[in-house]
Symmetry: C2
DNA sequence: ACTTAACTGCAAATAACTTGCATTTAAATA
DNA sequence: TATTTAAATGCAAGTTATTTGCAGTTAAGT
């Protein structure tokens, strides 16, 4: 099911259905947290997909509105699928200062800001909560 | 005046009043926009301050609550003084997708979010608006 | 089957930071 | 004022996430 789903998403986005991309997208579809390239490489067991290709695929996914990119502040990026289809974030993200994990706060919306100066064109907004995740905050 | 101000801030923070740090802090105090290390190096004319020292000073400033750090999304950091004295952001930031410039939206506040799950400890929030700055949006 | 643009892998490059270490210096103290 | 010391500095080298160039492969349309 996840596999068909991935293939279908690729098709709709006009991308080739390659083993690597299907596996990558399936992984992202099943992951509850945004993943970094390293995490993806580690988790993509059994499927060889060069890390450069992972980056290129992730970029294509983001361009197509399939995924969005999260900046965790440690100079790495994490990626997560989002069904909103837009190119930006549609919800806030939590980032753990201790373990670095990111989390999509899917239940929430990014609050609106009182209009910015008209000279600016706002294309996207990002809202980050930083602190300690459940696991890290409960550590002794 | 800016110089005395910088020296005073350093003193209050328990830092040594060195020529380099005074010049750096003075530059940040006078800058209307957050600056990257490279921009700082370029602008610090007449004062030799190694770029490693710039990074180390900026880190010390942030720890002391003198400055805050902004992530522009292009994997660089920018720094700006903030009088709130806190360690996090106290206002949203605008980031230009075209020229990469950042801007402190000092007039605004970062909106509150409806309480997150109690297991999480939220230590700071960051709000970014991304789009085209005044200059870039008016280009033909 | 043929064609072609999309995709991939490999090696090398980039660039923003970080680290180690030896030297200097502001400023506290005697 | 001389002494002391922790903080600050400079330089060289290291780290690492991401990018780029290029040549070879392959999905998918004809
Ligand atoms: Mn998300
Ligand atoms: Mn600011
Ligand atoms: Zn955590
Ligand atoms: Zn701009």
């Amino acid at each position: 099911m996840g596999e068909n789903n991935a293939a279908e998403i690729l098709r709709k986005a006009g991308m080739k259905k390659t083993a690597g991309r299907v596996a990558l997208l399936k992984l992202l579809l099943e992951s509850e947290k945004p993943l970094s390239q390293q995490e993806i490489s580690r988790m993509l067991k059994g499927v060889e997909l060069n890390y450069v290709s992972i980056y290129r695929s992730l970029e294509a996914f983001c361009r197509a509105g399939i995924t969005h990119r999260i900046e965790t502040g440690d100079r790495t990026w994490r990626f997560a699928v989002c069904s909103c289809g837009g190119r930006g974030h549609c919800h806030p993200h939590f980032i753990c200062n201790s373990c670095g994990a990111a989390e999509c706060l899917r239940g929430m919306e990014i609050p609106e800001l009182p209009a910015v100066n008209r000279e600016y064109v706002v294309e996207a907004t990002e809202f980050y909560l930083k602190g300690l995740c459940a696991r890290c905050s409960s550590e002794v």
